[in-house]
Assembly symmetry: C2
Homo-oligomer: 472 residues x 2
């Protein structure tokens, strides 16, 4: 009982410090051992205090790093509900809206909450430059000549190794290098669908995927999707039975924008379901390595034994967006993917492939990823807190365990599209919810990317967004 | 009369020297001034002798360089006739044949007469490396971040400047940078056509263009094409009247494979014809800078006043295939092209764009091109001679005034496809004629690329091809 009292007392003290801003969002708490020494309590008591605060959503554990303040006392609100798109195939016409949207965003000092990329200071610039110079020196032609269409042999080997982290066992021969993840998805669509086909997607779904699908001329069938657990498999099966679904495109690990990560069980169930109907899954795994937990989530691809899953990824979210190095593990569709690439871009740039191969080969990637994940989690927590404290009451926000984005749902009646114009005038950008769907929905939703560190300017930007909403 | 006699005598002497191999193919003849001094004749007489030899096809003038031996006395034979494809739209299914063809070609010491790229020793490797390092140093993010979808502003400015050579006057804003010329053509097709449309092309036509069209799901209408003057405009107009032609794709300047360069008059007439029917022209100008004559041929784009010509090009044939830097001047279709790129690859690699921009900015391109053109012309003449002397009687060969390829037509009954298997066994590759069409034609034709210097190995390879034909 004395122990019970002690841990509650300690937890209360820490809670007050957090609420009063003595301990600030993103700050690290003392280690359990340190706390036990300082307060003269047992390690168990210290642990129990932290467990209590964690359960309240005030602090969060980060593997091999310790506990961090997650929220300034405003207990995290509920997350957005499961989406409810209409069960029907819809033609896609999003690219025009996207283009006209981004046209005006050329001011230099934008608070960019729109684009989901890591800010430059999260990237290993000096070490990548070193790898680039090594590549120029070591390639007999300095990278002037064409690379093979399937990609640099050494890079393919490194990607095969990296895929092992997500549970996939592939040889270098099974990797096709692409111009970033979007080309990987485009090629996967070309290999598996024809214009007019229906493709099932999560809802909301990443606008880039919708654009790739628009380019391919396929229609979208949006699935009810929970921002914690992912798309409803029963709804998918109904769709397959009702419509001639030809392929499924999902981002099962840290989906963009809704943030869910499907459990291993659900990933396996999805792969089994599609096997029963002999349908391909295009798995966007671009965020797979940016997990905040202690374990790299497995990919759907790792559960697939029949080559039906086309895993698409890239280094654009972890190393260098501008290098345009992505890949696809295309299973039984590999030949079709390579043929599609010969119709489109022939091969990605030789020199950037060689630079990434060198960077991966010398083993710098692991250390870099550990730093990147910790930074992103801190960004996420700080952004989350700023949104919860400054946005209108009733706002719900996703709780991603990886990736780059928060999905924010305001109470009904708010219009993210209308807000955006005023936000841009104030030098702030984000992507409004209607870009993530082919249906008239998500008008009160928006996506906030947290790739940029929560500097004063960015936190002020979020607060200002909050004020602009309140004035609506 | 004495002068007449003298120049004929001199021409005869030189002709004998050439036929006996004293003067060898590709060698430079003495300058007119030097010849006049050495032989004690007037400069006019020396000129007339050279004119005579040039008229016989034995020597050729190269601007600002002098006269070179073109043929070892076997007077250049006739060129292939105007093609006669059937006047009909045909679906395209070439990509599978292309893939299965190139699969076996992985031996290291291949005599590669197939791929139409400059050999490494024709490229300014050291200077491009320098530009690459400058780019890494000067870009604030070393090229890690995304470039704008339309491309690097400085590169777009340089491309606008370069386009002036072909007679086009565009601003940097009118340039869209792409992943090489093939992506430019793919995007141009996406911007102007829909699956199922009919697109008019020259015949034979480059297999890469056919693959891009296959990827787009359009059908090809092949036009009768003369290897000297280009496609027949009357046939094009008939096709437009007969079929719902939606776009035209041509390589009007040093076409690949047939080698023609349309005259300025015919280019202007083509642009006017398409204007009357309000049809877009996708102009592949990738070889435009590799002219052997004294003047850069004008582009069709330069005659266009209504933004209907989409000019596609790249540095893949002149600087660095592996950099994957191309572009399109898309006129009224610019927005559609950018939208198509957002559906496909987002943008080309940042660092290679910056390197090419630097190389173009510091003015190294002109000097490099002068050397490249002279080398290519010499290659062409030497290859031409080797083919004419070793291939079966009745073989005709194109006479390109630029570009990288010869189009060779053997007498009826020969099969290039059948020959290829035996050639590959002997370590020699080329592309057989049937890859350049959607119809059952060009079985006795092949394309020989002369990007590689005519080394002993390459000349032996050509001779061996000749022997293999003779044995057929």
């Amino acid at each position: 009982m004395a122990d019970d009292f002690r841990y509650r007392q300690l937890a209360d003290q820490l809670r007050q410090q957090i609420e009063q801003g003595v301990l600030r969002v993103g700050e690290r708490l003392p280690s359990v051992r340190q706390l036990s020494r300082e307060r003269g309590i047992s390690v168990t008591t210290a642990f129990r205090a932290y467990y209590d605060l964690e359960a309240r959503g005030l602090i969060v554990a980060r593997p091999q790093s310790g506990y961090y303040v997650q929220s300034a006392g405003s207990r995290p609100g509920p997350v957005p509900r499961t989406s409810q798109p209409r069960p029907m195939a819809t033609p896609i016409t999003i690219s025009e809206a996207m283009r006209s949207l981004a046209r005006g965003w050329s001011q230099p000092d934008l608070v960019d909450l729109a684009v989901a990329v890591p800010s430059l200071d999260l990237l290993p610039q000096a070490k990548l430059n070193k790898s680039l110079l090594t590549a120029v020196r070591q390639l007999p032609d300095s990278g002037l000549g064409y690379e093979a269409t399937a990609g640099s042999p050494e890079l393919r080997r490194q990607i095969a190794r990296l895929s092992f982290n997500g549970g996939s066992r592939v040889s270098a021969d099974e990797v096709v290098v692409t111009n970033g993840c979007l080309e990987a998805i485009t090629l996967a669509l070309r290999a598996t669908t024809r214009p007019g086909d229906v493709v099932a997607v999560e809802s909301p779904t990443y606008y880039g995927i919708l654009q790739a699908m628009e380019g391919m001329g396929v229609r979208a069938y949006e699935l009810p999707t929970d921002p914690q657990t992912g798309p409803e498999l029963a709804a998918l099966e109904q769709a397959i039975r009702k419509e001639a679904i030809r392929a499924v495109v999902l981002t099962p690990t840290f989906s963009n924008p809704s943030g869910y990560c499907m459990s291993d069980d659900r990933k396996a169930a999805l792969v089994n379901l599609l096997a029963r109907y002999d349908l391909p899954l295009i798995e966007d795994d671009i965020y797979g390595e940016t997990y905040f937990g202690s374990v790299r989530p497995r990919t759907c691809h790792s559960f697939d034994t029949a080559g039906r899953v086309l895993l698409c990824s890239s280094v654009s979210k972890t190393l260098a967006p501008g290098y345009r190095v992505g890949w696809v593990l295309a299973g039984r569709y590999q030949e079709a993917v390579i043929r599609a690439q010969l119709m489109q871009t022939i091969s990605p740039a030789t020199i950037t492939q060689a630079a990434i191969a060198d960077f991966l080969r010398i083993g710098r990637f692991d250390l870099h990823l550990r730093k990147l994940r910790a930074a992103l989690q801190k960004h996420m927590l700080t952004y989350l807190d700023a949104i919860l404290t400054s946005f209108p009451d009733g706002t719900t926000v996703s709780r991603p365990n990886g990736g780059f984005v928060l999905w924010v749902e305001l109470p009904e009646g708010y219009s993210a599209a209308a807000m955006l114009a005023r936000a841009v005038d104030a030098g702030i950008t984000f992507y409004p919810g209607h870009l993530f769907t082919t249906q008239p929905q998500y008008a009160a939703c928006l996506r906030i990317a947290y790739g940029h560190p929560p500097t004063v300017a960015y936190l002020d930007g979020l607060k200002q967004l909050g004020r602009l909403w309140q004035q609506t």
